[in-house]
């Protein structure tokens, strides 16, 4: 039984549909990510979970109770806001104590819980500081301490790291994950940064244009995006337009690329095979594309010509033209490769993914 369950929730603002029929389940103890480009409805979804926004339709269940119409203050979920939303007129102690005072906690319990929350975010002794004296990273810790001090049944994060600079962001990220795990909390985390989502989350839902496109573990999403919109958002995919050939059989799909007319094989079950008269998209990650200069000719090997080599530090991007089909490959060391060189491009069949929803 999931801890939190959204069933078909929708929300419109005026004529724009911010969230369209989103359903998802979050399990107890899970670190769950909502990932998507800006304006995709992920924050609105989070705000509906928090009770700050009411869905136009659909229901939200928490521990099997319908909380759709329960106001935020009665849900007992902690939330960390993007701009932290620290109370500027209160010091660090009072900010963290705010939720406990709203619950009329006894004095001794209150100071003990504030102290332990500040301890947890490594800000002991900062009680009396004014919040505007703190650095961005410290403010962010106070915001987290404030949210965990109420011992929330669910912890919600709205892009909490986006205001920090890169090095601090990575450091805080791992601390955050460690903290949530240590306290045994369940978290829903909204971000547009896929790397952040991969690093933090047990499972991730990808949202695009108000719809929930795919839910899965980070690795699964990365390697096998189900949908072209997800593949595009998760970035740097070679998208290959192809037609299915009639020679396809169970467990082995055979496709012909529209550009270059290459034949490609990949393992697909018959159930998800598309009709033959419509073009489909195949996707493969640039780091899975192999480039050989020794004339290999196995399955999915295409002859090509190196068009461009872009050095980008640890890796280099090599762009190859295979009879009109342009592919990108990521290589660690472009040694021995030169522009205009003939080569063989190999697309390993277990790395190729057939995209499901062709609407994109």
């Amino acid at each position: 039984m999931p801890l939190l369950s959204l069933k078909n929730i929708s929300r419109s603002f005026g004529s724009t549909r911010a969230v369209a029929a989103v359903s998802l389940d979050v399990e107890q103890g899970e670190f769950f990510g909502l990932l998507g480009p800006s304006g995709c409805g992920k924050t609105t979804t989070l705000r509906m979970i928090a009770g700050l926004e009411k869905p136009d339709s659909g229901t939200i269940q928490f521990q099997n109770t319908d909380i759709t119409n329960l106001p935020a203050e009665k849900r007992g979920f902690g939330m960390v806001f993007q701009n932290y939303a620290l109370f500027p007129h209160l010091n660090v102690f009072e900010n963290v104590a705010f939720g406990l005072r709203a619950r009329h906690a006894a004095k001794a319990e209150l100071s003990e819980r504030v102290a332990s929350a500040l301890e947890l975010v490594q800000l002991p002794g900062y009680d009396k500081r004014a919040v505007d004296e703190l650095s961005g990273g410290q403010q962010q810790r106070v915001a987290i301490a404030r949210a965990i001090a109420i011992q929330p049944a669910l912890l919600l994060f709205d892009e909490p790291l986006s205001n920090l600079d890169v090095s601090l962001r990575e450091e805080t990220r791992s601390e955050l994950r460690e903290l949530v795990t240590r306290l045994g909390l369940t978290a829903v985390y909204v971000t547009h940064d896929q790397e952040e989502a991969y690093a933090l989350c047990d499972r991730i839902s990808v949202m695009v244009a108000g719809r929930l496109m795919q839910t899965g573990e980070p690795r699964e999403l990365y390697d096998h995006p189900s949908d072209i919109a997800v593949a595009r958002f998760l970035g740097r995919n070679n998208l290959i337009k192809a037609m299915r050939l009639s020679s396809s059989n169970t467990d082995d799909g055979e496709f012909k690329t529209l550009e270059g007319g290459h034949k490609l094989h990949l393992p697909v079950t018959h159930a998800i095979l598309s009709p033959m008269d419509q073009p489909v998209f195949l996707a493969i990650r640039p780091e899975h594309v192999q480039i050989h200069t020794n004339g290999d000719s196995g399955t999915n090997s295409l002859r090509g010509n190196i068009r461009e080599i872009v050095f980008a530090g640890a890796t280099s991007t090599v762009r190859v033209d295979a009879a009109g089909l342009v592919l990108e490959a990521l290589v660690l060391q472009p040694d021995g490769l030169t522009v205009n060189q003939e080569c063989t491009v190999v697309l390993p069949h277990d790395r190729l993914t057939l995209l499901q929803n062709q609407s994109g």
Partner: protein, 558 residues
């Protein structure tokens, strides 16, 4: 809409219905009635009188010239003091807004003492050169325009200054780098961006001038303006004429408001959100210009302070010691003793302080109802956009109407017989002035509170909600602590303006609520100049203290 919003809405609408909608509609209806028939006869009669037409022309003409003069003085001063640095700059800058807090009646009295034909300046020149007659008289157009420019130029000075501070300095630098000369930069880059500020200043000046009453009353001479005509018509007991003229005045004022706001709407500039180059005041290097600017600053600072200084001086003059002399010959505390010890005088202070306080506090409480409805919150709004606009328009109506109109409309609507259920008779009671003060000055409080509320990050309220705080806890523990400085500053402003109010008071006051301004006017009429001045000085002191507190509060907010 939840229950709380519904309660707030009912309170808001009741106040607007009884305070704004009903009195004004009552007034319009009254002006259209003759012998129980709906007709335009009153307008035909009133508008066929040359004296009324002249008053309309005078009011509009005076306002147009006032706007022009204030712009000519205020805008260059703002450029000079905002963009350049030189000795004396701070002295003037600190005093520049002084006339804004001077009650018009007190200012008028000070002008008579200083610039009047028997005043210090005219008298001094007459003596110095041995003229037989005073060199000038403070009468008519010139006197009115002089006084209006003194009291209203700060609208242009302050708003232009604020506009200049907002403009990104790199825009001018970009224009210069593209080859534009200083004058082209001014004309094509700076002035267009200043237009919203200039229009706002012109609007404020025009409306204030249309509503001006004290100066035309005391030294308008044969320049009769509408506010004065309405006052004398009521004194004569010609209610129909007064009401009809009041509606005409209201229509002109609202027309001007609509005209200016429409024009303003066409000239809106998005505030630059990119990081702009910080702009520093350029030091004037050239010796001669520097000296000239310094002299200018000192002269203007003196011009600003002199009327107040004169008032202080006269307040210490012994009775009868200032008749043929240039300056009073003998000084005493008697005027202050009189103002603070005579029961009638003390009562006047008690009246003004209590009535202004009642009005200001009521305005503050009511503002919370209105602003809660007006401000867009994170969880969506109570109303949609068009209702919000209508509501804020209704709130602003009493501000746009001259004090004369507000006073006459309330006086007529609540003078006895009324078709409105639950309406009271206010005329002849103490309560009419607090009510009129409330209506006139509540827009200031609403504006101040609204500005504070809009600055508030909606996420704070949401964060409090997510931490378990109920609506009332969120209001008292998050919203209130953050908006009170702004709200109290606005309330203090309304309080001090009400304290010196004369225009509306003179139309509806009764012995039981005689305010300070009425006392000043009657001391002046009895030639108790010292006492009139003493009242004025005490008033200025109370106002100054309040404004200092308000200024401190504004800083807390910022």
């Amino acid at each position: 809409m939840n229950k709380r919003s519904a309660v707030l809405l009912v309170i808001t609408l009741l106040v607007l219905l009884y305070g704004v909608i009903y009195p004004n509609l009552f007034l319009v209806n009254l002006s259209l009635q003759r012998d129980g028939v709906l007709t335009l006869a009153n307008y035909r009669e009133v508008l066929s009188q040359s004296i009324v037409l002249e008053a309309i022309l005078n009011s509009v003409g005076l306002s147009v010239f006032t706007v022009l003069l204030c712009a000519i003085i205020g805008v260059p001063l703002a450029f000079l003091f905002e963009r350049f640095d030189f000795p004396g700059r701070r002295i003037f800058a600190a005093l520049a807004a002084l006339p804004l807090v001077l009650p018009p009646l007190v200012g008028t009295v000070a002008f008579i003492f200083l610039y009047g034909e028997t005043g210090i300046l005219a008298h001094g020149i007459q003596k110095l050169f041995g003229f037989e007659r005073p060199p000038w008289s403070l009468q008519g157009w010139a006197a009115l325009l002089f006084f209006h420019t003194y009291t209203m130029y700060p609208f242009f000075y302050v708003l232009t200054g604020a506009g200049l501070r907002r403009i990104d300095a790199s825009l001018a630098e970009a224009a210069r780098s593209l080859g534009a000369s200083r004058t082209v930069v001014l004309r094509r880059v700076l002035l267009p961006q200043l237009t919203p500020s200039l229009i706002a200043a012109a609007l404020l000046t025009f409306m204030t001038s249309m509503a001006s009453f004290s100066a035309p009353l005391l030294f308008g001479g044969n320049v009769r303006v509408l506010t004065l005509e309405i006052f004398t018509a009521r004194q004569r007991g010609d209610a129909v004429m007064a009401v009809t003229e009041t509606v005409v005045l209201a229509i002109i004022s609202l027309g001007a408001l609509i005209f200016f706001q429409r024009y303003e709407g066409t000239r809106k500039f998005a505030a630059a959100t990119m990081k702009g180059a910080p702009r520093r005041r350029a030091a004037i290097a050239s010796g001669k210009t520097r000296v000239l600017a310094t002299i200018l600053a000192i002269v203007f600072a003196l011009l600003l302070v002199l009327p107040v200084a004169t008032l202080v001086l006269v307040s210490f003059a012994r009775e009868g010691s200032w008749t043929t002399e240039t300056l009073p010959s003998a000084y005493t505390f008697a005027n202050y003793l009189r103002v603070f010890s005579e029961p009638l005088a003390v009562e006047v202070f008690v009246n003004s302080l209590s009535m202004s306080a009642i009005a200001a506090v009521a305005a503050l409480l009511w503002s919370f109802c209105v602003v809660t409805l007006l401000v867009r919150r994170g969880r969506g709004t109570v109303f949609d956009e068009s209702w919000r606009r209508l509501l804020s328009l209704l709130v602003l109506v009493p501000w746009a109407l001259p004090g004369t109109v507000v006073a006459v409309s309330v006086a007529e609507a609540y003078s006895g017989l009324s078709s409105l259920p639950g309406s009271l008779m206010l005329v002849g009671t103490f309560w009419i002035l607090p009510v009129v003060y409330f209506l006139r000055f509540m827009p200031l409080v609403v504006r101040a509170l609204q500005a504070s509320m809009e600055q508030l990050d909606p996420a704070l309220d949401e964060a409090a909600g997510s931490l378990g705080a109920r609506a009332w806890q969120r209001f008292t523990r998050v919203t209130l602590p953050l908006v009170w400085p702004g709200a109290v500053a606005g309330t203090l402003l309304a309080f001090v303006i009400a304290l010196g109010e004369y225009v509306a008071s003179v139309l509806v006051f009764v012995p039981a609520n005689r305010p300070i301004s009425i006392a000043i006017a009657s001391e002046l009429r009895d030639f108790n100049l010292g006492a009139a001045a003493a009242y004025g000085v005490v008033l200025i002191l109370i106002i100054s203290i309040s404004m200092v507190i308000a200024g401190k509060l504004e800083k807390i907010r910022g």
